[in-house]
Amino acid sequence: MAYSAKVLDHYENPRNVGSFDKDDRSVGTGMVGAPSCGDVMKLQIKVNEEGVIEDAKFKTYGCGSAIASSSLLTEWVKGKTLEEATRIKNSDIAEELALPPVKIHCSVLAEDAIKAAIADYQKKAGA
């Protein structure tokens, strides 16, 4: 299957690959997996005191579309408030990357990952 130019761009030059210390209180970590293909994704956000996402990093072990979805998402969430970040939909990612129907689940994985990261951060902040 041919990947779109945007998927290839993110796949060949992924943005924000890496990790933060998951025990840092300002860091939220979201880990998700796609049981149908065994892809795994870790997405982390670093949140400042104003509740704005200052930085984001990811590690995705999966297909090009899964890597591109998480790479794009880390770019998008930077500078957004947590509330704004929760409003990002998988369909926005799929549209931007022109994902074919069989790869939509990769964008769903990315949306689940950011939601999980935000939930993790909020749980830590509330604790």
């Binding site: 998700v32 293909c37 795994v40 590690k59």
Partner: protein
């Protein structure tokens, strides 16, 4: 000739519905049945019989392919119990995922180092052992309707382990062929 199209795949081969099957027995039954319904045998038969023999041959092939591999066998056994693994979209627990990610990170380091001595064999062995343990769990759970949800959870976990093992084998092949730097 009666087309046993409604039978489950195990009964089709005269086997009990059980995860543990004798591979040789399965293959022997498959070959017997396949030759019994082979379309060549029905070359001069009525159109109706020819059609049925074709249908049966296709079904026998499908059944054999499904039962031959442990994962498709489990998937089929879950489906027989009315559980559709494709409907399960839940992520496994964070500790499990964290471990999977760690393993994938280790594999990445091995690939980048170009040196399989960095524990590739140990990792494959460990993943293989986890797969064997999980397969045994699923085999037992599939016999007990009260434990079907555990069977499904373990089936989903197995998909990650098989993916991991596949990745490890790819790296092994790549390194055997001379590493990433050479072509």
């Amino acid at each position: 000739m009666q087309p046993p199209l409604t039978k489950d795949y195990f009964s089709l081969f005269g086997l009990p519905i059980d995860f543990h099957i004798d591979d040789e027995e399965l293959t022997a039954r498959y070959r017997e049945m396949q030759s019994a319904v082979h379309p060549d045998r029905y070359a001069s038969a009525a159109a109706q019989e020819q059609r049925i023999s074709l249908q049966m041959a296709a079904r026998i092939n499908e059944a054999y392919e499904t039962l031959r591999h442990p994962m498709s066998r489990i998937r089929y056994m879950l489906e027989l119990k009315g559980v559709d693994p494709r409907q399960a979209d839940s992520s496994p627990d964070p500790a499990f995922l964290a471990r999977q990610i760690e393993w994938r990170e280790t594999l990445e380091e091995i690939r980048e180092s170009g040196d399989p001595g960095h524990g590739l064999a140990a990792l494959s062995e460990e993943a293989g052992a986890c797969i064997a343990t999980l397969l045994e769990k699923v085999a037992a759970e599939l016999k007990d309707d009260a434990r079907l949800s555990s069977a499904l959870t373990h089936f989903l976990e197995l998909q990650y382990y098989y993916r991991l093992l596949e990745e490890a084998r790819d790296i092994e092949d790549m390194l055997e062929q001379g590493g990433p730097g050479r072509t």
